[in-house]
Amino acid sequence: MNSVFWTHLVKDLRIEWRSLDAIVSMLFFSGLVVVLFSIAFDPRGAFSQQIAGGVLCVATMFASVSALNQAWAREIRHQVMDAQRMTPSSGAQLYFAKVLVNFIFVTVVQVALAPFFFVMYNLQVAGDARILALILPLGTWALVCNGVFFAALSIRSRNRELLLSLILFPIFIPALLGMVQAMNGVLTGDHDPWLWIKMLTGYDIIFTTVSLLLFDVVFHAE
């Protein structure tokens, strides 16, 4: 880890600290999704245990898209992105810093949302609750590492905000399945979550590697 990585990381964290744009909008949006789902599905008793994992994951997924769109849109103003393209450092460091920043944002939102969520859905964890601290970061990483990559990919297209969701969600489906199944395993205690945790880990490793390898191609595409 060298100074390029830290510069990008600190810069993005500082911008967010001053404006709080991403975190506040994500938090409010994911809270809204949770409320909308509870009104639409009327979760009570065992049913709420079954759908809770899915609702939390989908709420995070929808909310994070707004932050991911902002991740690169912010760099377009004042031609910052063109300047970044001309710097003689590898794009992988920029990408990795962006992923880490957005990972921190989404994790903050999840941590803030979790108590609210547990109250609204009357949740009781049947399995080992500590495993949730492993599942959520793994799933969030899968979402963010692909999301930052595809946001960079769609940034120069028409309808870029819509396009990000259109290309991110199909690719994210297996990770969403793994995340939801693992969370349900912990919340209901019906099945063992470890198979899904391994699958999520594999997904994260594969897609982080490919994204790091191909990021320069996308970033310098002309």
């Binding site: 396009l163 969600f169 199909p170 690719i171 489906i173 297996p174 899904w196 490919v210 191909l214 595409a221």
Partner: protein
Amino acid sequence: MKKAAFTLFPVITILLMIWGYYQAIYVAPDDALQGYVFRIIYYHVPSASVAFCFFAVSLLGSIGYLAFRRSHPNRAQIADAWALAGAEVGVVFNTVVLTTGPLWGRRAWGIWWTWDARLTTTLVLWLIYVSYLLLRRFAAGPQMQTLAAVLGIFGALDVPIVYMSNRWWRTQHPAPVFGGDEGSGMKDPTMIHAFLWNMLAWFCWGLLVLFIRYHVERRHQQYAALEAEEALASAD
């Protein structure tokens, strides 16, 4: 020679399709358990095979484009045309699979759809390649081909993961409708003949459409290059 092949191949394809239709509808017997509706397999399985092969063509095209885009621009354009043609025609065949599948499932299983490994993988594959085509539409300009090639690789990488994750999912929650292998019912040799004839016919038809789409895209690329040259010449 090339011209003769271009006229002869469509004729052979159409004859094969007529023969395949005759074999499937009139010659092959009804299935002992499923009855008449079983015949949809002669269209469903060949379409699925063609779609999967063409998505592989698209993946190879995407890799080829990324490999050649700096060193051999012309080869890269050829690879990109194959990538687009494979994805587009593959989506059409995949749509046929997703239409004929539920039609058969409704009669054989009693339900239109189930979230089983193969069905979900086919659906996700369809979603991924539709998003690929949307990207090609939205991301105008010269960088579009590079971006599309990268997405093509990501999409292909996702497919085995989708398949494995759905298999694990379904082994944990076994669904009663998840029957045996679709090919396991073929005991009658006329059924196998009808199946193989249709496989051949639909592959020929798929290849024909693929070639046409490829040539259209190549013409399109050449026309765009010509237009760019003319614009440059008039600017001087």
